[in-house]
């Protein structure tokens, strides 16, 4: 490669770096507790297997100084199965901030471990990428048959397109 070509390549690489870097913000940490409630539907239940679905609504409050996701409300739909005492569940969430901008996320649950992944964002959350690990923090008795009331804590990070 001639020295002219090398110079051109160098300029292209540097230009590429400067063009791409500003589009992605640094990773932002978050630490939230969500509390929700709603109806649960048992589809099938035996000693070996239980299959259920739920729809919940609730609210997030932030445990972090940056207050990310504080006062966000949410709606979640979930399906779950318990086989030989082991619970596996998958859920999709709409998380909406007080301005009306929203994030769509999934949470996959295996036993006590919860993994939240951000899938989509609108408004200020457009292009959101990231997620969190979570765990249940409450163990209450259902206040009415066929309902659930619970809180979980999630700690993670996300990035936004600039």
């Amino acid at each position: 490669m001639s020295s002219t070509n090398k110079r051109i390549m160098g300029v292209v690489v540097i230009l590429g770096l400067f063009t791409s870097i500003p589009f992605v913000q640094a990773q932002i940490p978050f630490d939230v507790t969500e509390c929700g409630a709603g109806p649960v539907t048992i589809v099938f239940q035996s000693n070996e297997i239980a299959v259920s679905g739920l729809e919940g609504k609730g609210i997030f409050f932030s445990n972090h100084a940056n207050k990310v996701f504080d006062n966000c409300t949410f709606q979640v739909v979930q399906i779950a199965r318990v086989v030989d005492g082991k619970r596996v569940a998958n859920s999709y969430w709409k998380i909406m901030d007080p301005d009306g901008d929203a994030v769509v996320a999934s949470v996959d649950i295996v036993g006590p471990e919860k993994t939240m992944t951000f899938l989509h964002g609108t408004g200020k959350w457009k292009g959101i990428k990231g997620g969190a690990k979570g765990k249940g923090v409450t163990t209450g008795k259902m206040i009415a048959p066929g309902t659930f009331q619970a809180c979980s804590r999630y700690i993670g990070t996300f990035e936004l397109l600039k």
Binding site: C35, G56, K57, G58, F61, D70, K141, A150
Partner: protein, 165 residues
């Protein structure tokens, strides 16, 4: 001599009465918990001058104290709200159910915004039988309703309570 005897008997009776009644009521205990829940509200009067709604909320509590009183307690809250000239007045009753199945009934009155008020224990079962106590109630989190006609919020309740021994 007779007078001294009477004084002794009265003193004995006084001490006996004190020892009989003091153990009946336990000392006041602090209580401080946050409840978060979701629910629905229905318009009873949609007049802008005098709006009335009825609401129903279910959720769960977390204690903010080391004594963990009212931690993991689920609740069902029902009440009415009056909105006149931007001022809200709320009257409600809440059933708090602990993990053992014992429950209390609490009365809440609040005004706002910002929403603040007082609460009072009215009734208890099991370990809460005979509960008395009062405290302050204020909202700590509230967002945009995730769907129309719903409410999602958190409140903090701080006060004291007593239980008979």
């Amino acid at each position: 001599m007779v007078k001294r005897k009477r004084v002794s008997i009265l003193g004995f009776v006084g001490i006996f009465v004190l020892f009989t009644f003091i153990p009946v009521a336990q000392a006041e205990q602090p209580i401080d918990f946050t409840d978060c829940g979701t629910g629905t509200f229905t318009l009873v009067s949609d007049s802008k001058e005098f709006m009335v709604t009825v609401f129903e909320v279910k959720g769960i509590t977390r204690s903010n104290l080391e004594n963990k009183v009212f931690d993991n307690v689920t609740y069902h809250h029902a009440g009415v709200t009056r909105i006149v000239a931007g001022k809200m007045t709320v009257y409600g009753y809440t059933k708090y159910l602990d993990p053992d199945g014992d429950f209390v009934i609490l009365e809440i009155n609040e005004v706002g915004p910002p929403m603040e008020g007082t609460w009072k224990f009215l009734y208890g079962t099991g370990k809460y039988k005979g509960i008395t106590g009062t405290g302050k109630h204020f909202h700590t989190a509230g967002g945009k309703p995730i769907t129309p006609g719903t409410v999602q919020s958190c409140s903090r309740n701080v006060g004291t309570f007593e239980l008979p021994k």
